[in-house]
Symmetry: C2
Subunit: 152 residues, 2 copies
């Protein structure tokens, strides 16, 4: 599925699901709504579960995890790993990297191109192709860098 033609509309995604033999259920609709509503926010699975429950109070956590896996298989969402052990999900789109602040947890998206040079160098010297989009890079955002100077 090419990134540019990923639908960003709940009904369209449900149609895609049906087209693949899947079924449109209330939990699926709610989960898709939550992710699309978050826009470019990177929601942790737990947060998605919490939000889905505002619409479908009794969804099981396993159901939401299974829905997230289906949506990822379908190519409409992606996940990455933040600092801690948790996964974050967001609508699939242009490949990009993430910077996560170790102190406040804020996530900043950076375009893929920023890594081109590094990727080229690493490929040339180590024969290794990096894919930095699946795991966030850690560090400190400007606010926390300043704050850390006084309270580390």
């Amino acid at each position: 599925v090419a990134a540019s033609q990923v639908p960003r509309d709940t009904d369209a995604i449900l149609d895609l699901l049906r087209a693949g033999g899947g079924r449109a259920t209330a939990s699926r609709r709610a989960t898709i709504d939550v992710i699309l509503a978050a826009g470019d926010e990177h929601l942790a699975a737990g947060e998605i579960l919490r939000r889905v429950r505002t619409t479908v109070p009794d969804v099981a956590e396993s159901t939401v995890y299974r829905i997230l896996a289906s949506l990822e298989d379908l190519g409409v969402i992606s996940h990455l790993h933040l600092a801690n052990g948790a996964s974050a999900y967001h609508p699939a789109g242009a490949r990009h990297q993430h910077l996560v602040c170790r102190r406040c947890g804020a996530v900043t998206d950076v375009p893929d191109t920023v890594f081109d040079e590094l990727a080229t160098v690493i490929d040339a010297f180590y024969g290794f192709s990096i894919d930095a989009s699946h795991v966030a890079l850690q560090g400190h955002c400007s606010a926390c860098r300043t704050a850390a100077a006084t309270t580390p």
Copy 2:
């Protein structure tokens, strides 16, 4: 503790521990031995436990985790996060980054300087100071890149 003066000798480390009010025990000696013997290998906590048990068969896993934490506090070892959820430990030394292959898990160390340019660009554009040494960068090593072309 400056990286350059970190002892790479079990007895010296035990002395450091004692100097800080700590005690030298068989489990501690064995754990330090295992880590120093591994050289620049990056051992997962579980692997360290396994190896320590060849010397001290009945150490509890919690003991090894506590020892690893003490040694890290002492500044003689560091840990980083690999692809999965596991931590890897190695003797403290020059700051460097890690490339981990998503397919075979091989870890390659790369000098800190390779990231200088990226760090400068990211700092300039996003006011974010990256510290890529605590989480490994993922990708594919040359062997797996070739292999993946046929068996993804």
